[in-house]
Symmetry: C2
Subunit: 131 residues, 2 copies
DNA sequence: ATGAAAGTAGTAATCATTCTCAATTTATTA
DNA sequence: TAATAAATTGAGAATGATTACTACTTTCAT
């Protein structure tokens, strides 16, 4: 990866917020710093920074993709009304569901998705390792 | 809601599987039963069935929307390789993360999103109730 | 049976995202 | 320091899932 002013700006803009912004928001903010930057460049660099492990896409929160420079946490509190997305470090799901409360949020729904390999695909990947 | 053959077919097609299909898949299957049904009709009826509480959109799993006639469960196991989506009734997140195993799946990532109202919006909705 | 409301097919429009490509910038090597 | 190869970019076209529109059909309460 060569050095690139545009990529640096995209990354800095994302690091400057905890709001889990959309690509469009990142594009607008980046233009305040580099007015000539294009949407395509923002999208491309977001992708490259993801492959490079510097940021992640926040899935399952809104229709639009959202990005996060915090590559560690994977849990979020989402306000249905104003759209605020707040990071949360999350394990005790039982009590949250029971109490319906988390950090002042009134929680009434959750979405939990586990990602991995199913039995079949796991077998196949073992075979491929041997080959 | 009037009765509608198309809506019934869309609903039956979705009920016939546990694979959490896309709208396109539902459209193809529905055409096997009613060849004249259109994509728009499938999308519209999926939406209406959702408002009517008969099915849900599965969020945060893939790029495309997926639908599920099981309106109760909210947790899924997703295979990164073949795309299989398996229902799971899910609370003990800690042990899953620790063991990395669930129903034969090799789990290496999860995504947990809590939905609700933030403090501010909760206050506002209280105010509105009084008014 | 009849008229209003609900539903539909087909197609155009939308809109976030990706792709294309000629031009520019960066890195490498002579 | 050239010169060449590789990476990056802007602008705009293309994509593709979903939604909107519209003229026509069906449903249903009276």
């Amino acid at each position: 990866m060569n050095k690139s002013k545009r990529r640096d700006v995209v990354y800095e803009v994302l690091c400057s917020t905890k709001s889990h912004p959309t690509a469009e928001w990142i594009y607008e903010k980046s233009r305040e710093i580099l007015p000539s930057i294009s949407r395509g460049t923002v999208y491309r660099n977001l992708k490259e920074l993801i492959s490079n492990g510097q940021l992640t896409k926040v899935e399952g929160v809104f229709e639009m993709d959202r990005y996060d420079a915090d590559v560690e946490t994977h849990s979020h509190l989402v306000c249905r009304e104003c759209g605020a997305v707040v990071d949360f470090s999350p394990y005790d799901i039982k009590s949250v569901i029971h109490i319906g409360q988390l950090d002042g949020f009134c929680v009434d729904e959750f979405s939990l998705v586990y990602h991995g390999l199913c039995v079949e695909c796991n077998k196949l990947s073992d075979v491929n390792k041997l080959a």
